[in-house]
Subunit: 277 residues, 2 copies
């Protein structure tokens, strides 16, 4: 029973009426929902547990492009895909299938628990009284994948902030950016810019520029793990001249971050004293 | 040529004079240094790339207990282990072996680029003019492994702060804790407490308590991925009564974090509006 085809990947193929029907007949056999983080998307960067869970599942639910990343693992699982911004529908479909007794893998890129699907699925299950076993399979989050290609910018304390104001008010995001900039934390910016949303990265750059010199190293990693992967090393002064999109993570260094041999590094601390330990 | 044995795991088995000797004869054949993150330590949570890299390497360098985690991958690689606090010696040994033409895997738990060995190795190579190819193999970092067991506390913006003042001055850490607490960021505390270092977690709890109610959910995950794994869900009021050690990660929720069906969740944002998309 495989409902996936080439056209399903870009369209919402969730049949809501069928799902509603199933929900009335599921009470006697609850399945299991695995919230799986795929890492950056490359096969090599998946964990063994993510791979095994997807192989063992009966139903896979995910955003089309993420399902493409696990093409090598799809045999006879049912696959339900839907488009961007359809997170709630995917969650609902995944919960319905699990309530109907299936082992369901709801996939996210990066880590499922960091800007992924884990929280929404748990919130929805609690709100609607769907008591089913759930597990989170953690994955390599986007900031760590980006950092690995740039050098070692996240060695010490850091923050992750999403510049998307779809779910969090922009005022709150600005407060966080200012606090993190003032406290000299390295920051990873998720969802830094989209075609429509350009102002946010400009404002973030201004906030950090007020606390850090223009020469502060900035790394941009885009589409990590895909054939379009691109890594750029620049600085705060020139950040806004670079190509940045929704598939980018922008890492802004702190006052100690430097570039050595082409690698962006936040030094580990008292190098001298460590060396003499 | 396998230099590892049961006794090597707890002792420093690096022969410094031999390493110095090697350094004078390596100039014509540079190897490669892979900085590998193992994730929490369990085989299942390693990435395929970490596994493949360790299998393909000729020399493995690591802290004893981390080498134990990759026992299944050790065949005829040379294994160099040393104890806690001997990071510089391990780095030096890894660089020396790579400069001597070997493919070396220098292993860290979690992600190699987050409180791991990647930064130190790159700093040291740059400082000493060791020009060798290096790559970082990212892994699932401790905060994400901990979060997965607790529920989904890191769904939105968060910070990672280490309470160890061995490498960063305590004043700087306090400034960061205060900024993060005031900006309503979820925080993951690394190295929260050791036998000797108790005051730091008390002070961190006070700082967060000044900005957040005592009922704020707090999750503690200890020795994740090992047989001693332990997960505790408590709150800010009762944090200091719990068992917390160097193998723990403490996650303090923000003003929206709640516990639903025994799971610690930071809601994804406007659940209602997401639902109606």
């Amino acid at each position: 029973m495989r409902t996936r085809g080439p056209t399903c990947r870009t369209e919402d193929v969730i049949n809501t009426s069928e799902n509603s029907l199933q929900r009335h007949h599921h009470s006697h056999r609850a399945g299991k929902l695995s919230l799986v983080g795929l890492g950056p998307g490359s096969i090599a960067d998946r964990t063994a547990r993510a791979t095994e869970t997807i192989c063992a599942s009966e139903v896979i639910v995910g955003y089309g492009p993420y399902v493409d990343c696990i093409d090598d693992l799809i045999t006879n699982q049912q696959v339900i895909t839907s488009g961007m911004m359809k997170e709630s529908e995917r969650c609902r479909a995944a919960l319905d299938a699990a309530m109907a007794g299936k082992h369901v893998a709801l996939i996210s890129s990066g880590d499922a628990g960091m800007y992924g699907m884990a929280g929404l699925a748990m919130e929805m299950a609690a709100a609607e009284g769907d008591h089913i076993p759930m597990e989170v399979i953690p994955g390599v989050t986007a900031a760590n994948s980006a950092a690995a290609l740039l050098g070692a910018p996240l060695m010490l304390d850091s923050a992750s902030i999403s510049l998307s104001d779809l779910l969090v008010p922009w005022d709150t995001i600005v407060t966080r950016l200012k606090a993190v900039a003032a406290a000299d934390l390295v920051v990873s910016l998720y969802n830094p810019r989209s075609k429509k949303r350009v102002m946010q990265l400009e404002e973030a750059a201004r906030i950090f520029r007020a606390c850090r010199p223009g020469t502060t190293p900035v790394g941009i990693a885009t589409a990590v793990g895909s054939p379009e992967e691109q890594v750029v090393l620049t600085d705060l002064e020139h950040l806004l001249e670079q190509e940045v999109g929704m598939r980018s993570v922008v890492i802004i260094g702190n006052s100690t971050t430097c570039v050595l041999d082409g690698r962006m590094i936040t030094p580990r601390g008292y190098y001298g004293s460590v060396n003499s330990v």
